[in-house]
């Protein structure tokens, strides 16, 4: 971030010996300068605090939207390690959030459905287009449930996949309704 060159003078501290040799006029000018500069800094400080508050509110807003989304939300590395997960996902999997980080997502996918996930991820990385699939997942404690995954991939400036955004929803109800039809 730009800090220098913002028009404010950099302060050089004068030692009391150096001050002694200054003329009263120079001292007066210097004092004025310093006092004004001080106020300048204080004002700038206040503004920064205000900007920070606004930024904080905005951050909290989007963090909340992410964290308490109606769907589970995980950010995965290209290889499938959980980089981050929201509260809904942790609740869905019945795991504390801290224990999710760095785990492989495949750990939470039902053994017989690993292939579905593999193909889903492959297609996602190959096409770069949003993908969705349905598979069974396993909660902490072993309970199996049907889930719907929707995923997109985030690329860096060179077009190299940086991470995957995956949203997970429990579709037990859908499946039950489907069966009843």
């Amino acid at each position: 971030m730009k800090k220098k060159g913002n028009g404010l003078k950099q302060t050089t501290v004068l030692s009391p010996e150096n001050i002694k040799v200054l003329s009263p006029g120079e001292i007066q000018r210097l004092l004025h300068e310093l006092q004004v500069h001080q106020i300048e800094l204080e004002l700038q400080n206040e503004e920064q605090c205000r900007a920070q508050e606004a930024l904080e509110a905005s951050y909290a807003r989007y963090f909340d939207l992410y964290d308490q989304a109606p769907w589970g939300y995980v950010v995965l590395s290209e290889k499938g390690a959980i980089l981050e997960s929201n509260l809904s996902f942790a609740a869905l999997m019945q795991v504390t959030r801290g224990r999710l980080t760095a785990q492989m997502i495949s750990r939470f996918i039902f053994k017989e459905d690993q292939d579905i996930y593999y193909l889903h991820r492959k297609k996602l990385l190959e096409t770069g287009a949003p993908q969705s699939c349905e598979l069974r997942m396993v909660k902490n404690g072993g309970m199996v449930f049907p889930a719907r995954l929707a995923a997109t991939v985030a690329h860096d400036d060179n077009g190299i996949p940086r991470y995957l955004r995956v949203m997970v929803s429990d579709i037990t109800e859908d499946k039950r309704n489907e069966k009843e039809k």
Binding site: H32, W71, A150
Partner: protein
């Protein structure tokens, strides 16, 4: 994003405001340098300079944390904005407060066109009620709610989405809801295709069943005549033999005809009789099976103790013949059609008699337990048993484990049993050990609606 305050153009403005503030303060709080001693002035200058450095450091710190915060905010804004599903926030009054990029793309509008719009504007007319109920339920229960409805793309083209919503509080303590929109057009299309297929299949199945019924019915008539004429050939043969013997023809002729009469023809007649008999049982079996598919079971609360008692009574002769013992425990009642269940139990019991092990007297034990809403019955015998690899095979139509025909059977009995149990929403499985015996376990619902 909001511009920060360290842009050069704002600096002069800042300087001006500082000068103004300084002028307002001068004389009041700030010491006038004129009244200071040389010593005092240098002290003041020094202090001011140090304070200024403090402020500069503080400023620096603020900028750094602001930069960090901004990175984090951008991160979560991106996660929100570029989420794999549409995501909107709707106010208590039903206006869209904010929508992400995915939602805007889904609805075919720009993000700006979403804001402050009533969400219902994007819902297909026929599905407004679904949304109304969904919303009502969401605010009443405050639990995650889901529903499926059609939204309208900008041009008015409807498409299917699934809505997932949670209620949340906004800053003023009011209620709003966060709604995730996922496009399920693909799934809906597949569902429709599957429904069409199922309907077609059901129709085909119905046709098949009527063909099966008709053909087995029609097959019976020629079969009866084959059997009848076969009997007649047999009788004619006897007569010819009798006449030939009586008339004492030439030795030569007798010798030539005799082997046909006494050997070839009777053997053929015997085989025709066996095959026709077998065919009759098969046709009868198919007929029973297709009658079962046509008939609708009429379930009732069934006293299984009485039913089993009657059944064992009616099999008394076979049981005595096989020198078997049948032990029946106390059986819970279940919800089933009495005729069909009697048929199923009859088949299981006669199988037990048929496949008994000649090395020991047959013992059949029937027991029952209750498990939740199900009555479980076990029919255990000490017969020849079934190899584990054949467990699945036994239920198949015309499937026989011993095709040599040592035991008479058509491979229909267990198929019929399984059909009967399954159409009662029950389940049947077998456990067996060759040379030890088999146990068939039936589970049937204990209650139902008539």
């Amino acid at each position: 994003m909001k511009k920060k305050n360290n842009e050069p153009k704002k600096t002069s403005d800042l300087r001006e405001r500082a000068e103004n503030a300084f002028r307002a303060k001068t004389g009041a709080e700030l010491a006038s340098p004129a009244g200071l001693t040389q010593e005092g002035a240098s002290m003041l200058l020094h202090e001011l300079q140090v304070h200024q450095i403090e402020l500069e450091m503080q400023n620096e710190e603020l900028r750094r944390s602001e930069a960090e915060l901004e990175t984090a905010r951008t991160r979560y804004f991106d996660l929100y904005d570029l989420a794999p599903v549409g995501y909107i926030t709707v106010s208590e009054k039903g206006l869209i407060i904010e929508g992400n990029l995915t939602a805007a793309a889904l609805l075919g509008v720009s993000r700006g066109e979403l804001t402050k719009q009533p969400f219902t504007r994007f819902i297909a007319k026929d599905d407004q009620d679904i949304y109304y109920r969904h919303r009502k339920q969401l605010f009443e229960t405050e639990e995650t709610q889901a529903c499926e409805l059609r939204l309208l793309k900008s041009g008015g083209v409807p498409f299917w989405v699934r809505l997932h919503a949670v209620a949340a509080r906004n800053d003023d303590g009011g209620t709003m809801c966060r709604v995730v929109l996922s496009d399920i057009s693909d799934r809906k299309r597949m569902e429709r295709e599957r429904e069409e297929l199922t309907t077609a299949l059901r129709k085909k199945n119905g046709e098949m069943e009527s063909i099966l019924y008709a053909s087995s019915h029609d097959l019976r008539t020629p079969l009866v005549s084959i059997q009848g004429f076969n009997d007649r050939i047999q009788k004619t043969l006897e007569e010819i033999s009798f006449v030939l013997a009586k008339n004492e023809p030439a030795e030569q002729l007798h010798a030539e005809i005799a082997p046909f009469l006494t050997n070839d023809i009777p053997t053929a007649v015997h085989h025709i009789g066996l095959s026709a008999g077998k065919m009759e049982r098969l046709v009868n079996g198919i007929l029973r099976l297709s009658r079962l598919s046509c008939a609708v079971p009429v379930p009732e609360l069934l006293d299984m103790n009485a039913l089993t008692g009657r059944l064992v009574d009616s099999l008394k002769f076979q049981i005595q013949q096989a020198q078997a013992t049948v032990t029946v425990g106390d059986l819970p009642s279940c919800w089933a059609d009495p005729h069909e269940l009697e048929q199923a139990l009859m088949n299981l019991l006669s199988n037990a008699v048929k496949y008994r092990d000649p090395v020991r007297p047959l013992a059949i034990v029937i027991t029952g337990t209750v498990k939740g809403n199900y009555a479980i019955y076990a029919i255990a015998d000490n017969g020849i048993g079934i190899k584990p690899g054949h467990y699945e095979q036994i239920w198949g139509l015309f499937s026989r484990l011993d095709p040599s025909g040592a035991v008479a059977g058509e491979g229909i009995g267990l198929t019929l049993v399984k059909r009967i149990i399954e159409r009662h929403n029950g389940d049947i499985r077998v456990e067996s050990e060759p040379g030890v015996g088999s146990t068939f376990s039936l589970s049937l619902p204990r209650t139902g609606t008539s």
